[in-house]
Structures are given as structure tokens and as C-alpha cells.
Subunit: 425 residues, 2 copies
């Protein structure tokens, strides 16, 4: 079968996933691929992939002499290699802030073991590991360069990566930070929209680390916990969408449905009062405002697991629903995660854009890249930190307040501790 490709990256494929995997492996073997190349596979379905994301340019190890301000980039992380998948899943499955299971100390490890082969297969299909660390390092590097230039009074700035479930783990990073003799540390969540299961869990882990330890003296701590309405986040996502829209034939461009897709959460978390759905909604509306409401759009939710009810409608089912209505052209837009990761590269690209798209007979389905190292996004991160350093409150009243139906005693203790931490100095 002859398959057309839309860029200079033209190759021939036989068909289906095997060839796709080969292609991914090839991309991964490149030394210096351009960071944002789009590869499009057409086989009845037209599908965009952002494979280059996994091959983000590796910054030099940041070697900052006597850093004054530390910017701690907080995220969930992902396994860097296939061998790390089990440990990663085990950490998720035993994190009660993320998932609450009955007899979790036994059931968690059991589920982690049972799911490891399936998840390893997925990681092997996106090149053998998660690109989150590579992108986070690149973002940190570019952010600190800009901060050093724009805010010499708080320079030198050094970024630290604190992942919740993969290396570099939060504990190890905090230990490293202590050695650097910082004057100021900004705990900067890399989730634009706050969710108790993600940002909340990471902050609870920082609290847990210091609970039985002395906080290093002399550091002025502060927190950036959410930034769903930052205009440059909306501008970045809008730019990512514009890039994809350009690839559609002029005659059908206006009919393309923009499907914003975010990780779903269980309805019991929604009903507890978690701010996540509302903050994701805000980002979506601001992106469409930025785009002048040029196209139809929808917010849908992906990655549900387990038998309990989760917030819908789900991404795959919504795609089916639209196809039933006669719609045939789509852009999927990750809106709640700033880096490529397994759920963009596998779930969106392979499972939905390629496999499901083909099954449903869609005409064109593309996926907008995550913010990654888009210059507008780096400007956004810089603006957020700059404003925070210059005039932001060190901790927000919202962060300090629990959900109306919070039953997590860790949140109670953690929030009190952070209130104290951020009032010192």
C-alpha cells in the first residue's frame, strides 16, 4: 500500500502498527532531530504524531555555581526505560493521594505486577521510555536562562526536577537542593490545573519528606500551585492548534472539530470538590477565545481505568459519537499536561488517532503537540515565575484550603505545614 506523508519526512510503510514502531525506533535513533517535527501517517486515516518529543534535545547537565534561587519543577514523571516500569507503577498504585484501593498495601503491588507487561509494551511502542524528563529538563534550562537575564537580582537560578513516581524522585531532589545553599526555593507545579491526585500528591510527598527532618535553614520557600488561566498557556495551545489546522485542506478547515482532551478523574473526586475539572474548563475556553472561536470544539476526558464511574464524556467514545453524526475531521489537543508522555504518544497517537481513527473511517485526525519547548510556552513559564518572585503571595489561600468534602488527613497536616514553611524568613 502506498501511503502519503505530508512533510519532508516522507517514507514508505507497509501498514499498521509494526511499521509505525519501526519508524518510531528510527526517530529515537536520531541524534539531533528537530524538536518539533510532525510526522503524518496516512492509510485511509491521516494521523499526526509527535515522535520527536521523545527525542527532545538533551540539555547539558545544569552546572550552576552558587545558585541563589531554586525552581523546583514538580510533575509525576515517567519511566525512563522499560525496566523502570514496574517501580513506577508500584509507586502509583501505593500512593493513596492518587488512588484509594482496599487493602492497598497488598492490592497495589499486585495490580502493579499484573499491569507491568502491558504497560512495558506501550512504552516499547513509543521508543522505550517516557520523554517527560527530557522535556522537563529542556524547559528548566530555557526557563533559567531567561530568568537569569530578566531577573539578575534573584540570579543565578537553578532548576530542579522533582518527580512523584520516577527518577529524579522528589526526596532525592530535595536532598540535592539542600547542598546548594539556596536563598530561595520556588515549588512550581508543572500541572497547569490543580488536582489533589497530582499536584496535591506531590506536595504531600514534600511534606512527608520533611515531616521527620529539619527543614534546611536560610531558604525562603514559596509555591506556584496552579496557572490554568495564564494567557501564554492559552496562546501556546492555540498556536499548537493553528499549526495542525494549516494541514487540513482549505475546503474542510472550518469543519474540523477541536477535541480538547484531559486525563479524567473518578466522579468521587469531582464530587469531593476537586478544582481540576473547573480549571481545565477555564484553559479550554481561553484557548478558544484566543482562536476567535474559529472552529467547533469540545472538552473530553481520557485514560479512565477501573470499574468505578469517571468524569466523561470519554475521548474515544466522543470520537465515535461525532463520527456517527457524520463528522470526519478532528484535532485532538492535550490540554492538561505540558509534555509529551505515554498518554499523548500512545493513547492519543496510536490508540485513538491511528487505530480508532482507521476503524471509524475518519478522513483526517491530527494531534496537537503538547506545549513542550514552544517559545511562547517558555515565555509563559518565565512570566509566571517572574511575577511570583516579584510580587506573588508565597502561598495561595486556595492551596491552603481543602476540598469541601476532603477526608484525607494528610492534606490537613500538609497544608498546615506549608502555611508555616512559607511564612518563615
Amino acid at each position: 500500500m502506498k501511503l502519503g506523508l505530508d512533510s519532508s519526512e516522507s517514507h514508505e510503510f507497509t501498514s499498521g502498527k509494526l511499521s509505525l514502531i519501526y519508524h518510531i525506533s528510527w526517530r529515537y535513533s536520531c541524534l539531533c532531530p528537530p524538536p518539533d517535527t510532525h510526522v503524518t501517517v496516512v492509510s485511509g486515516v491521516q494521523c499526526t504524531r509527535h515522535l520527536s518529543s521523545a527525542a527532545a534535545p538533551q540539555p547539558a547537565v545544569q552546572n550552576v555555581k552558587d545558585p541563589k534561587t531554586g525552581i523546583v519543577l514538580i510533575n509525576m514523571g515517567g519511566p525512563g526505560t522499560i525496566d523502570e516500569v514496574h517501580d513506577y507503577l508500584l509507586k502509583i498504585m501505593t500512593d493513596r493521594d492518587m488512588i484509594q484501593l482496599p487493602v492497598q498495601s497488598q492490592l497495589g503491588p499486585y495490580i502493579a505486577r499484573r499491569r507491568t507487561p502491558e504497560v512495558q509494551k506501550k512504552y516499547s511502542e513509543i521508543g522505550g521510555g517516557s520523554p517527560i524528563l527530557k522535556w522537563t529538563k529542556r524547559q528548566g534550562e530555557l526557563l533559567c536562562e531567561k530568568l537569569d537575564f530578566l531577573s539578575p537580582e534573584t540570579a543565578p537560578h537553578k532548576y530542579y526536577v522533582a518527580f512523584r513516581y520516577a527518577n529524579p524522585l522528589t526526596d532525592v531532589t530535595l536532598e540535592e537542593m539542600e547542598k546548594d545553599g539556596l536563598e530561595r526555593a520556588v515549588l512550581f507545579s508543572q500541572y497547569p490545573q490543580y488536582c489533589c491526585s497530582t499536584t496535591g500528591s506531590s506536595f504531600n510527598a514534600i511534606y512527608k519528606y520533611y515531616k521527620d527532618r529539619k527543614v534546611p535553614p536560610g531558604i525562603k520557600w514559596s509555591i506556584i500551585d496552579r496557572w490554568s488561566t495564564h494567557p501564554l498557556l492559552a496562546k501556546t495551545i492555540a498556536e499548537r492548534i493553528r499549526t495542525e489546522l494549516k494541514e487540513f485542506p482549505e475546503s474542510i478547515k472550518k469543519d474540523v472539530i477541536i477535541m480538547f482532551t484531559a486525563h479524567s478523574i473518578p466522579l468521587k473526586v469531582v464530587n469531593r470538590g476537586d478544582a481540576y475539572p473547573s480549571e481545565v474548563g477555564a484553559t479550554v475556553q481561553l484557548v478558544m477565545k484566543e482562536l476567535g472561536y474559529c472552529n467547533p470544539y469540545s472538552l473530553v476526558w481520557q485514560s479512565k481505568v477501573g470499574p468505578l464511574p469517571w468524569l466523561g464524556p470519554f475521548t474515544d467514545e466522543s470520537l465515535k459519537g461525532y463520527v456517527k453524526q457524520g463528522k470526519k475531521n478532528f484535532i485532538l489537543v492535550p490540554v492538561a499536561f505540558v509534555n509529551e508522555h505515554i498518554e499523548t504518544l500512545h493513547e492519543l497517537d496510536i490508540e485513538y488517532c491511528h487505530d480508532l481513527g482507521k476503524e471509524l473511517g475518519v478522513e483526517n485526525i491530527r494531534r496537537a503537540a503538547a506545549p513542550n519547548d514552544h517559545p511562547i510556552f517558555i515565555d509563559g513559564l518565565t512570566d509566571i515565575v517572574l511575577n511570583h518572585l516579584k510580587s506573588g503571595p508565597r502561598i495561595s489561600p486556595k492551596f491552603l484550603t481543602r476540598c469541601p468534602h476532603c477526608t484525607n488527613t494528610r492534606c490537613e497536616m500538609s497544608k498546615s505545614w506549608f502555611a508555616q514553611l512559607c511564612s518563615q524568613q
Copy 2:
């Protein structure tokens, strides 16, 4: 018992609801009350009421000679008198866009009959009728005055009120409009956030009216279907909150929890892909941005009815949850309805602020006024219409696209019809 009051409107009450009702009746009997007076009843609980809303200054009947542009203000409406309650409920209960019941043609009228006395009692407790019409007329009057001044080329402007369940009903208004020989008609939803059950239902009613009738020739039609992110909406709500915050003692001001409250919807509507929760979330985040995230806040949902699961957390339950956490000071903020109505004046003011607040032993609970005729809000409405008249698309791609899991054939037909209507002339 001696009860303190916070404004020049000081009176003595014995206690509880009876006296409160008396007070409301008194307010209603005033001829010219200031439009935004706040009356505060203290009896252990401190509670703000916006009784004046029902006594909004009645504009003179708009007598516009040869109007050129009609602005159709679309809303659900409310019974103007106790006698209209049954008809109002009957219209709601038999509207399949609003509620889907089994054997609705029988069950709907049965529920309407059964609920009439209880709902009549509530309306009698807020003064004998809904103030939605009074506020809508005032908004229309002020809006058209501004439009005439700012956009002489589309003047004279005339507003029309098109309610879904109460007088003036949509059909009657459309008939009236036809006589006026307009050049242009803007169908302007007064729900800032779109929901299929509210804005959607009204637009389906307009479609139904014209389905078997000739559309009057010579009118250029267009639609404003949603405006959740308009900056002046956020500014208005922020101002309403600032007004209430000023009433709290300085020492506790920063601990006041701002509870944004919107009408809930059934989870099956959420899961169908209705945009409402996401758009309400956007308004909330933009209001807090406007306020500089000065206080803790939360988005909660009110007015659930029936046994099926609805979107939570619920306003009353959330209040209980916060009180359990030791919180004692609150402002309730209606965020999805622009006028005082039964759910602000009764549910929020009487049931939650007064009765529940007292039961829970809160220290201070106040309720922010709806936008009503706040000058910033009128500027907002004007800006929305001006931009729409000058450069807006006549119909938005989002409006024309159904929810991913829409099963309502009326929506399909209605949207096709509006696409055609708004492409004529």
C-alpha cells in the same frame, strides 16, 4: 432578642423566617427602593439578602419608533405572580430539552400539579413572584440606551424579552417583533454559560415556532449563544464579591471562603458532553483572577432535583463540609444566572444563608448579588452586542455542533435551520 443590622436599613426582628417574610413583604411594598440595597439579618447567623432585586425599578414601557435592530433577551423566565406558578411548572415539566421523563405527557403534568403548592409557597416567601422580568427589562432598557449612543448606525435598538416558561413567552415575542419591521435581530442568550437544557431549549423553541411558518423577510438574524469569559462579566462578579467582603471584620476577611454556586445538571447531561460545567469553571477562574486570588474559593452546585445522580459537590453539603473543617465565614456567589431569581432569593438566601447557616452555627454568611443592573455588567452586555454587530460571526461553529453524545433529534434539525437562517440576507 436584639438583632444587629449592618446598614441604615435597621429594624428589629423577633427571629426566624416569619419575621423575615414580613420584612420581604414590606420591601416589596416600597415604590422606589434603591436598586441594590443590602439588608442583613443577624440572629446568631449574619446573612445578607438582596430583597431589593424583586423591586427593581420598572422601566417605562419601551416605545421605540421604527426600531432598526432588535435585541432578543433570551432566558427561562419565572412566574410573575403566585397564580402563574402552575403554568410555569407545567411548561418546564413538559419540555423534553429541559427534562426527560418516561411518559412525559402524563407524568410531566402530574409532577407540575403536585409541586405547585410547595413552589407557590416559596414564591410567596420572596414577595409573590419572580423578579426576572423586572431585571431583564431594566437590563434591556439600559443596554439599548447605550447601544443607541455608541452605535448610531444600527440604531434605534429595541429589546425584546423571550422567556421559555413564563410571560413574555418566546412565541408571543417573536410575533411582536415581526410587526416592527426590523432590519436586524440578535438572539442574545442571557445565560452566560451555554447549557443544552437552558439556552439550547430556548433556541429549539424558536426553531419550533418557525418550523411551520414563514420567517419574516428582510431581517438579518444572528446569535450570541455564550459569553462565559467576557472580562466585564468577571469584573461584575468580582465587584459583587468585593462589596460583600467589605462587610466582614478585617481580622477574618482573609479566611472568608468564596463559594461560587451554579445550578447543577444531571450527570447524564455532563457525560453527553454539555459545555456548561466547563464554561462555568471558566467564569469562576476569571473572577478569582480579577480578585487576585485574594481568598479561598470553591465551585459548588445547587438545586438538584430527583433521584438520579447530578454534578456535585452540592452547595448545602459543601457548606456542611467546610463547617466540619472549622470554617465559619462564607460568601455565596451566584455565577451562572444574571438576575435575582427564586434560586438566589429563596434557596441561597433563605434556605442556605439563613436556615442552614443558623443550623450549622456559621459566624457570617453573606450572598453576593447577581449582576442585575450593575453598571459594569451593563457595559459588558453592551460590549458583547457591539462587537457582535460590528465584527462577530452571525452564528458560532460551536453552536452549530451537537454534543458528542447528543441523542436529541430536535437539536439536529434546529441547528441546521439556524445555520440557514443566519446565512440569509
